[in-house]
């Protein structure tokens, strides 16, 4: 890939999705875009860039989608799901005993493994949730991955990464080489297309937000802005779960780390300095198309 092509893609991805690639991510672009260029019938990334420069908005959309779609699997990193079962849910069962309802948001729900892992965790808790209303909202930038998430259909390869065999047997139905998660679990998850750069206040207020492995793509100002808006979209005693490589420390004081639980944060009660979506630069406000 030529340096000008790399720079072009970097800038375009930043403008369209907030994805902030460092100068050394050529391998990532190649691994994601070479399959796409084949799909589009062009010979390589240079031709793909040519088409994008020619103004093909469908190709641009596909490039953004290919670059921002994360590899994911069931119970990815395990620890966050232990926090969910052992810390978050016991606290919430106490704190919401009167309301008997809990709202959970998977802010980068991707192809569904995370929201369905949470749904399975909830089912495994059994009778303590009888009479409770638990909502799981899965959002993602990409409509393609949301469609896959809705269908709940996974390949044999996908169901063997992170999913204990007992849970496969319990919650999936086999269909040839594919496995589909049960209708009951699918019904526990609602799907919405959403760009985190845009206002998300319409989703309402949540008790638990999983926002893992998505903020790493954003530059510092964007991260701070999103943290501010996440804090406003969360109950004062809620929980925020970040990815293994992510933290609020040094960026914002609207969340504080939960003691001894890595990746787990709670609102601090501090007000965000810049809580408006798109308030950062006009560039972000101009992205409303996606």
């Amino acid at each position: 890939m030529t340096p000008p092509d790399y720079e072009y893609l970097r800038k375009l991805l930043k403008d369209h999705s907030g994805l902030d690639l460092s100068a050394d991510k050529q391998y990532l672009i190649e691994s994601r875009l070479l399959p796409l260029s084949r799909k589009c019938g062009v010979s390589g990334i240079a031709d793909l860039v040519q088409k994008m420069k020619g103004g093909s908005s469908t190709i641009i959309a596909q490039v953004v989608e290919a670059m921002t779609t994360n590899e994911t699997f069931f119970f990815r990193d395990k620890v966050p799901f232990e926090h969910f079962r052992d810390t978050i849910m016991p606290e919430m069962l106490k704190a919401r005993a009167n309301r008997k309802s809990i709202r959970i948001w998977c802010a980068a729900g991707s192809t569904g493994q995370e929201p369905y892992s949470l749904a399975m965790s909830l089912k495994e808790m059994g009778a303590v949730l009888a009479g409770w209303r638990v909502e799981i909202i899965a959002t993602d930038l990409s409509t393609e991955v949301l469609e896959k998430s809705k269908s709940g259909v996974y390949s044999q390869f996908e169901v063997q990464r992170g999913l204990p065999i007992q849970l496969l047997v319990k919650y999936f139905k086999q269909n040839g080489e594919f496995w589909q998660i049960s209708p009951e679990l699918r019904a526990m998850v609602q799907h919405r297309q959403l760009n985190l750069l845009h206002d998300f206040s319409q989703l309402g207020v949540f008790d638990v937000i999983f926002c893992r492995n998505v903020l790493i793509y954003f530059d510092q100002d964007t991260k701070i802005n999103i943290f501010g808006r996440l804090a406003r979209g969360m109950e004062g005693d809620g929980f925020l779960v970040l990815g293994a490589a992510e933290t609020v420390v040094g960026l914002t004081d609207v969340f504080k780390p939960f003691p001894d639980k890595r990746g787990l944060y709670r609102p601090s009660g501090a007000r965000a300095a810049s809580p408006q979506a798109g308030g950062l630069t006009p560039r972000i406000a101009a992205m409303a198309g996606r």
Partner: protein
């Protein structure tokens, strides 16, 4: 040292499995069928068994049933690794005492994930990109 008994009638599969498991610091013992595997377990109980289903002489399922009745035979973690990919086989294996189940074809990631699942190797976080 952790030991893994690799039971498969295909020498190619045994070789692939050996390569993956040796990198996880397992000492490997090989068996070509259930009967050989049972003899190996009577000599010394392995930490783990990676077990094919369909084999001559004695199949993997029958081996596991014998193993689970041996003194100390409840200790090894048994991970099936087979082309029998139907729900009926998986359920039967779990009821018979299997700890995990790998559907072939498999790769290093799947073996790693499944061995982590049953606590045979430590869990590591994957880098996000």
């Amino acid at each position: 040292m952790k030991t893994c008994l690799v039971v498969d009638d295909s020498s190619v599969i045994r070789k692939i499995a050996r390569r993956i498991l040796e990198e996880m610091d397992f000492q490997i013992i090989e068996a070509e069928d259930g009967e050989q595997a049972l003899e190996a377990c009577k000599r010394a109980m392995p930490t783990a068994v990676l077990l094919d289903w369909n084999m001559p002489v004695m199949d993997g399922y029958e081996f596991m049933c014998h193993l689970r009745r041996l003194p100390g035979g409840d200790v090894p973690k048994v991970v099936f690794c087979t082309t029998e990919n139907g729900m009926d086989h998986i359920s039967r294996a779990l009821h018979g005492g299997a700890n995990e189940y790998i559907m072939k074809p498999f790769d290093r990631d799947i073996v790693t994930a499944k061995f982590q699942e049953v606590g045979l190797i430590e869990f590591t976080e994957q880098s996000p990109v």
